[in-house]
């Protein structure tokens, strides 16, 4: 638990800030020549500018500022104009034609055409056909391969024709940046997709793309700076520059937000989040995370070359019974400080369109769990130990990766609940790399040496990838519970090919229920994304999607392009009618009309400090010289 010291300090400073703001001289006016800079803080560090190596959310955020997707995502996560401005599919759903807008240019002035898109998609096809079978970190090309991408051609500069193996709508959801052929085609597939290759293309700034902002300066571990793309085809938003600033400490980041040194922060800690509420000119936003944290179970037990402790793990009835002994609400309160919701199915409520509540929901009831274990053939012995079907006492290992320290709290609770069932649990943390090794099944020449672990998954704009993790096909790659269910696999293929949304949801609902009932994963919770932003410099912060999302770090640059200048930063209030007209229905807070005195520190202060320092030095020096002079006299 966090110490309460900080809470007290925060209050103290609240008081001193008030006092200080009275003493400070008036803020220096912002001159019209200064670019309007949007400063965004994140505790997650950008790792790469070459988009194929994207792993963390910050990486994705950066490449969707630099580049367009073929089809973008609007504020409701619906397909919208991206590199292509229109598209249609053939009646059989196998041929998809994308119309690339005329006159579009890359940020360096070169024409941006269908040939660039063709080259990018062909690169993915080439990578999939290569020996490695993937490119970069391997997270991007599945968007196209899962959509069944078969061939791509550009009959003219404004037409891109894509064919797929099966009818699908996933092709308009591909999270793949369209890259400028005139720059990237100078490099081989391995120079683009293999960071240890000779001549590896790091894509250093200035980046050339068609996105609204282009990276011009990057200090790894520190910040990345973007400027407006002068050739952008759409509207750009009020910021002339965007800076993504990395913070090593979330505490410092929140202080920077309070002072106005940053405008937006992602990754606020729960207690800071509470403290930020009610701060002037600051608005907090709690969005659903597009993902979940789960208690995963080795469903192979001791079978098929796996090294679980007991074959009870292979029994859906046993796993289901365990589910009654997990109090998800308690975990939300203890681990997330209430910033989340208890988990049910593997499609999080972030996907309001696709998420369903389970048909047969479990509830926390230790006695019910005991009854179900008894009924399923797992009795207690004389010492109160739960026995498996071989008559051995059940003793389970429970672990979590060291990169996710908060799961230690979850593990303690779960171990306590399972002990009440007569199941002994050894809970201990595992170094992440070691855990990944332990999770590999025989298909990947690994030991599958674990019983249960706590970890999470993060999803895409479409729940497809979250559903894929539990297919039989995923065993040996993404599957870490080795769940295998014929009906689930069949439904997975059906939803992949379903072009009718209602039909697709029926498939997905059944899939969510299968996983819930069979419980290879017991979804613990859907945690929240805790963000906060200032309203005194920028206005019209819009959540994507409006009900469950956040203004930035969603899908694509839409949150940035909608930003308007708040009245306080415009050189003259009359000169900016845009700031006054907020779109109706926007969830964003209104702009503050006054500038916070504490937000800008004055150069006079620096002068004062400098003067004091100089006085100290001079006085000290004179004093020392006088002493020395006296010494000389004494000699």
């Amino acid at each position: 638990m966090r110490p309460s010291v900080r809470v007290r300090l925060t209050r103290l400073v609240g008081a001193s800030a008030l006092a200080g703001s009275l003493l400070l001289p008036a803020a220096a006016p912002v001159t019209a020549a200064d670019p309007v800079v949007l400063r965004v803080g994140t505790v997650q560090d950008l790792q790469v500018l070459n988009p194929w190596f994207s792993v963390v959310v910050a990486d994705y955020e950066v490449y969707t500022l630099n580049y367009d997707l073929l089809v973008g995502f609007d504020i409701n996560l619906q397909p919208t104009a991206g590199f292509a401005d229109r598209w249609e599919s053939s009646p059989d759903g196998l041929t998809h034609t994308f119309h690339i807008r005329e006159g579009m240019k890359w940020s360096d002035g070169q024409p941006a055409t269908a040939e660039d898109a063709r080259w990018t998609y062909q690169l993915v096809l080439d990578a999939a056909a290569s020996e490695a079978g993937y490119i970069g970190s391997g997270y991007l090309e599945p968007y196209l391969t899962n959509a069944g991408l078969k061939s791509v051609s550009a009959p003219d500069d404004h037409t891109l024709v894509v064919t797929t193996e099966f009818p699908t709508t996933l092709i308009t959801q591909a999270y793949v940046p369209i890259l400028p052929k005139h720059i990237w085609s100078k490099y081989t597939l391995s120079q683009i997709g293999d960071s240890s290759a000779k001549g590896f293309f790091k894509n250093e700034p200035p980046v050339v793309g068609t996105g609204p902002y282009q990276a011009v300066e990057w200090q790894p571990g520190d910040f990345i700076r973007f400027t407006r793309n002068p050739n952008y085809w759409g509207t750009q938003g009020a910021a002339d520059e965007v800076i993504l600033q990395h913070f090593a400490s979330a505490d410092t980041m929140v202080q920077a937000l309070k002072k106005g040194d940053v405008d937006y922060v992602r990754g606020v800690l729960p207690d800071q989040f509470a403290a930020l509420q009610g701060e002037p000119d600051i608005k907090t936003v709690e969005g659903f995370a597009n993902g979940y944290s789960e208690l995963a179970i080795n469903t192979r037990g001791k079978t098929q070359g796996a090294h679980g402790s007991t074959n009870a793990l292979t029994d859906p009835a046993f796993r289901d019974a365990l589910g009654y002994a997990v109090d998800q609400q308690k975990l939300v309160d203890a681990t997330l400080a209430g910033h989340g919701v208890p988990g049910t199915t593997i499609v999080p409520p972030y996907h309001a369109k696709w998420h369903v509540d389970p048909t047969n929901p479990r509830h926390f009831d230790i006695d019910e769990a005991k009854r179900r274990l008894d009924a399923a053939g797992y009795p207690l012995d004389a010492q109160g130990r739960r026995l498996d079907k071989e008559g051995q006492p059940i003793s389970l290992r429970l672990t979590w990766p060291d990169s996710e320290g908060s799961h230690a709290t979850d593990a303690q609770f779960i171990a306590g609940w399972f002990k009440e069932l007569g199941i002994d649990v050894q809970a201990s943390v595992t170094e992440e790399g070691k855990l990944i090794d332990d999770l590999i099944p025989k298909e990947g020449k690994g030991p599958a040496n674990f019983d249960m672990f706590i970890w999470g998954w993060v999803g895409d704009p479409d729940p497809h990838s979250l559903l894929y993790d539990l297919t039989t096909d995923a065993i040996g790659s993404l599957s870490d519970s080795f769940f295998s269910n014929d009906r689930y696999d069949e439904l997975f293929k059906l939803q992949q090919r379903a072009t009718d949304e209602a039909q697709r949801k029926t498939y997905m609902a059944e899939m969510q229920n299968i996983v819930y009932d069979q419980a290879p994963y017991i979804v613990l919770y859907y945690d929240s994304e805790l963000h906060a932003y200032r309203t005194d410099r920028f206005a019209n912060w819009v959540n994507q999607p409006p009900a469950t999302g956040t203004p930035l770090f969603g899908f694509g640059p839409v949150g940035y392009t909608l930003l308007q200048a708040a009245a306080a930063v415009t050189p003259s209030p009359a000169a900016s009618p845009a700031a006054a007209s907020q779109p109706a229905g926007s969830p964003a807070a209104s702009a503050s009309g006054t500038q916070a005195p504490a937000a800008t520190s004055s150069d006079n202060t620096l002068l004062l400090v400098a003067v004091v320092v100089i006085i100290v030095v001079v006085v000290g020096g004179v004093f020392a010289m006088r002493r020395r002079a006296r010494d000389v006299e004494e000699e």
Binding site: L24, Y134, G138, A248, I436
Partner: protein, 324 residues
């Protein structure tokens, strides 16, 4: 200074560095998990063949001893510390190089300020023992000595940055600022004040306390009594007889702390988001960027060894007794 003394100290330092290189190699091979997994992460579509290819590319298919060891020694000797796992396509030397000078700047200046103020405060307290400065100064020094950097840093941040708004909350320079060199320097200066204050405040206590006790010990020596008997003034006794001898132990402390100029106090850098080696170490740890960590460890330990070597040599110059 005798040649034997110099040679002996240099030899010891060389042996220590060789041991550090060895330990550094063993330490990172003893870590659980396999590096190729860290490299690839929880990546989809991974096949055993791909894993093997990665192992071959990074030289992990060869036995740890002697192949990997020899390769490591040979590369390290040439200043090649390998590639960062995290910053794709960047060498460890590049990654560390970008972060070295902010740390050296911060801790170099912080140290200097702390040495000047700390030694002066300690000397004055010792000389005017029982006086007001001694009474208050000693108490303050003890508090500062025991206060962790992050606490000092956080307090400064809360009060002077986000509270009073006098100084920026983070970083070394305001990004995206236009303006000339002078503006840039002023901006860096403003960012510099709080971190450097945190560093010096954290160090002043050590110097003051050591200087005070060292001076008190010296003042009780016979030769001070002799000097007094000769009728020398207080000031002369202090400067010509007491201080030079009392300074000796502080040389060691200065040297040890100078070694940590490179190490930085990780917590100060983290609190002020200073783009130095401290924040780099934290990033590399959380991302399990072993090559960078290995490089940082090597740099830090070599820096401490060299600083100690320097202390030994300076000591030899100052005090003839240790040269034997």
């Amino acid at each position: 200074m005798g040649g034997g003394y110099l040679a002996r100290r240099l030899g010891q330092a060389a042996i220590t560095i060789a041991l550090i290189v060895l330990v550094n190699f063993l330490l990172f091979r003893a870590m659980p998990g396999s590096p190729e997994r860290i490299l690839l992460g929880r990546i989809p579509n991974i096949t055993p063949e791909v894993l093997e290819a990665v192992r071959v590319r990074w030289g992990l298919d060869k036995p740890v001893f002697p192949d990997q060891f020899i390769a490591y020694i040979a590369a390290t000797a040439q200043g090649d510390l390998g590639f960062s796992f995290l910053a794709r396509g960047q060498t460890v030397v590049e990654v560390i190089g970008q972060r070295l000078w902010p740390t050296v700047l911060l801790f170099g200046i912080g140290e200097l300020i702390a040495i000047v103020i700390g030694l002066a405060l300690g000397a004055y307290s010792g000389w005017r023992r029982g006086g007001l400065v001694d009474y208050v100064g000693n108490g303050v020094a003890l508090v500062l000595y025991s206060a962790p950097y992050f606490l000092i840093g956080m307090l400064l941040l809360l009060v002077f940055a986000s509270g009073l708004g006098w100084f920026p909350t983070f970083g070394m320079v305001t990004r995206g600022q236009t303006g000339g060199t002078l503006d840039y320097l002023i901006d860096v200066g403003r960012h510099f004040v709080l971190p450097v204050t945190a560093v010096s405040i954290g160090l002043i206590g050590q110097y003051a306390i050591l200087m005070r006790s060292s001076l008190l010990e010296t003042l009780s020596e016979d030769y001070i009594a002799t000097a007094r008997a000769k009728g020398l003034s207080g000031g002369r006794i202090l400067r010509n007889h007491a201080l030079p001898n009392a300074l000796l132990p502080t040389v060691t402390l200065v040297a040890i702390n100078l070694g940590y100029v490179v190490a930085g106090a990780i917590t100060v850098e983290v609190v002020f988001n200073w783009p130095g080696l401290g924040t780099l170490t934290v990033e590399a740890l959380t991302a399990r960027d072993y090559p960078v960590l290995q490089g940082v460890f090597l740099l830090l330990s070599v820096a401490v060894v060299l600083a100690n070597l320097a202390a030994d040599l300076v000591y030899g110059l100052l005090d003839p007794r240790v040269r034997t």
